[in-house]
């Protein structure tokens, strides 16, 4: 099934059709849920969930450190390639969203009752981060930048940073 999914995704990307992978992914997830319910054997028990929780915590920490360090490195190199800034912002916001998601799910499972005000603040912070993420994609998407034409850097739109220092080939 994984091989079939990989084939579908690769072909969809080749033909630049990105709706098919989303539809196939949703359908395959539903199929997995349906098939899993028909299995009588125990697929995962308390030990798996305990180990999974530890693994998830470590994965979040490792990814967060990697993303933050990489973000700063990319920011420092943005003069070489303007797209580095967009990649850095993506890493930063993905880390924030991951941590917020983890916090919300952790609170849900610990059954801590939110006061109305804390729930509103949490939801508001989440919305702000999602909005900033979308805005950063729009601002740093490279629409306003420098493109290489005939061996020269030419403005595309209205970039607010100087032309890249690397040679235009």
């Amino acid at each position: 099934m994984v091989v079939a999914l990989a084939l579908v995704f690769s072909q969809a990307i080749f033909f630049e059709n990105y709706l098919i992978p989303i539809a196939i992914l949703l359908a395959s997830s539903l199929l997995m849920l349906f098939l899993r319910r028909r299995v009588d054997e125990v697929v995962a028990d308390e030990r798996d969930y305990a180990l999974g929780g530890k693994a998830a915590l470590w994965a979040i920490q490792v990814y967060s450190w990697f993303a933050v360090i990489t973000m700063f490195i990319l920011y420092s190199l943005r003069d070489i390639n303007p797209s580095y800034e967009a990649i850095g912002m993506t890493l930063a916001f993905s880390t924030c969203i991951l941590m917020l998601t983890y916090t919300l799910i952790f609170r849900y499972y610990s059954r801590v009752k939110f006061s109305d005000r804390r729930l509103v603040y949490t939801a508001l912070i989440l919305v702000i981060f999602v909005a900033m993420f979308i805005l950063s994609l729009r601002v740093f998407s490279g629409e306003d930048g420098w493109i290489c034409q005939d061996g020269q850097w030419v403005q595309h739109g209205n970039p607010d940073f100087p032309a890249p220092g690397s040679e235009c080939k």
């Binding site: 054997e41 125990v42 995962a44 028990d45 308390e46 030990r47 798996d48």
Partner: protein, 51 residues
């Protein structure tokens, strides 16, 4: 009773029973109760806790 039989009755994977027997995993109270019940014994008799 085999490890697999005990695992099926306690609704856990066989690997978990293996780790329990080797003392490498501390079960939850629910699992300890289920295992003891399956073996027709009590938690105190099945599980020995060493300080």
């Amino acid at each position: 009773m085999t490890q697999e039989g005990l695992a099926n009755r306690a609704r856990v994977r066989r690997e978990t029973i293996v780790f329990l027997e080797q003392g490498k995993y501390n079960p939850s109270l629910q699992l300890a109760h289920d295992v003891a019940l399956t073996l027709g014994s009590t938690i105190d008799e099945v599980f020995i806790f060493e300080d």
